[in-house]
Symmetry: C2
Subunit: 228 residues, 2 copies
Amino acid sequence: MKEGPDIAQIGALIGDPARANMLAALTGGRALTATELAAAGGITLQTASTHLSKLETGGLLAQRKQGRHRYFTLADEAVARLIESMMGLAASRGHLRHQPGPKDPALRKARICYDHLAGDYGVRMLDSLVASGSIDAIGDGLAVTPKGESDLQSIGIDVGSLKSSRRPLCRACLDWSERRTHLAGTLGKALLSNFMEKGWARRMPESRSVVFSPEGERQFLKLFPVES
Amino acid sequence: MKEGPDIAQIGALIGDPARANMLAALTGGRALTATELAAAGGITLQTASTHLSKLETGGLLAQRKQGRHRYFTLADEAVARLIESMMGLAASRGHLRHQPGPKDPALRKARICYDHLAGDYGVRMLDSLVASGSIDAIGDGLAVTPKGESDLQSIGIDVGSLKSSRRPLCRACLDWSERRTHLAGTLGKALLSNFMEKGWARRMPESRSVVFSPEGERQFLKLFPVES
DNA sequence: TTCATACTTCGATCGTAACCGAAGCATTCT
DNA sequence: AGAATGCTTCGGTTACGATCGAAGTATGAA
């Protein structure tokens, strides 16, 4: 009767509110310490410790000891994608953790999703890359064109070197606020890093949101125009 | 602090073993009654009833009353995809419900995934369609080529009429037993229906497995060859 | 060495939810 | 009408796990 993999274990791990909040915090892509995660989950350090060890033995988290700190991250991109897709489903079923507050708009505009740009700006960027012929899209599949390769080179991204990674170059990631896809994978990561190196954008501490400088925003919008 | 959709609710719904088993059973695509689902979950009818109402108010299930029966299905394809992707993650982390038993081989060979063919045969079919140039694949994105459209027409599938559906024509679905993708979407559904109409294959009752007749198997393997 | 910080383990409490027996509706069959 | 089937609701039990205080370990700083 019982056959196949055990969904319930993973579901139960994500099903606890404290753990879910910790996982959501880690979707920000940054490695966080047990103490920070305890705060994110709204629980004491002891409780967080037991939760974290459960998540780790369950294969959802990876940890890295550094001095007397212990840094946790999501185990890999597959976990991040699962979390984001659950967020998408939850949003579409109206399961919200709280009513849209004042901090929400910034988050909807631009935020980190694991290691790449999400939100309105993330979706806009992918749309623009596809419209300009830099990326080929078939459904949810994405691939860089020769034109895209040279365009990206000119803004300081070497696509060739990114290809050597075992992780896929392009990946479509569903955006829960926009309900459309944005660009993930090593290219998505490289683009965001590029913006931050140029000083166009920076991360807000303690949050997933990404803010653009006035000049950075101007450049970004010029680089990724949308017809309409 | 708390922002975005509530993953924990969905996680908790899937996190109970009885509910997880019922959801996995519904991944078979067939509408099942409360009594059947109780058996699938290994619980009594009363308990199943409360579980089912929770799943329904949580937006994971849809129900349809018919006479004195109440038929349940997964709410939509998004839920089915979530379940399958959790199975993939669970399998990759080694969370198995039981050791591979004697009934497993048939299931690994060919089974139903929501409404299309999965397992070894499902993966083989997509590989072959891509190799023959009937389907273009970029990463996880799939699209039918003009050649594919005429090839499919010749075996009795009208791609044009399938396109009118709101649901995507082609969709890559991760296969948890093969760890590769197979073909979902309306085309995946149409192909499986086609095989069953021709008498090549039929579903086993009370199971997700699909068995081919000797003749059907011969035809299938001839239609979808693999180079090796 | 001593103190402080970061985290884990132990032990006990407490709440929730899964569970089933029994009774209650609703629908269909005879 | 009465009987049977399919499912839901109620009530009470039980068990599991989330929680935190307190004590224990490890790393680094003074």
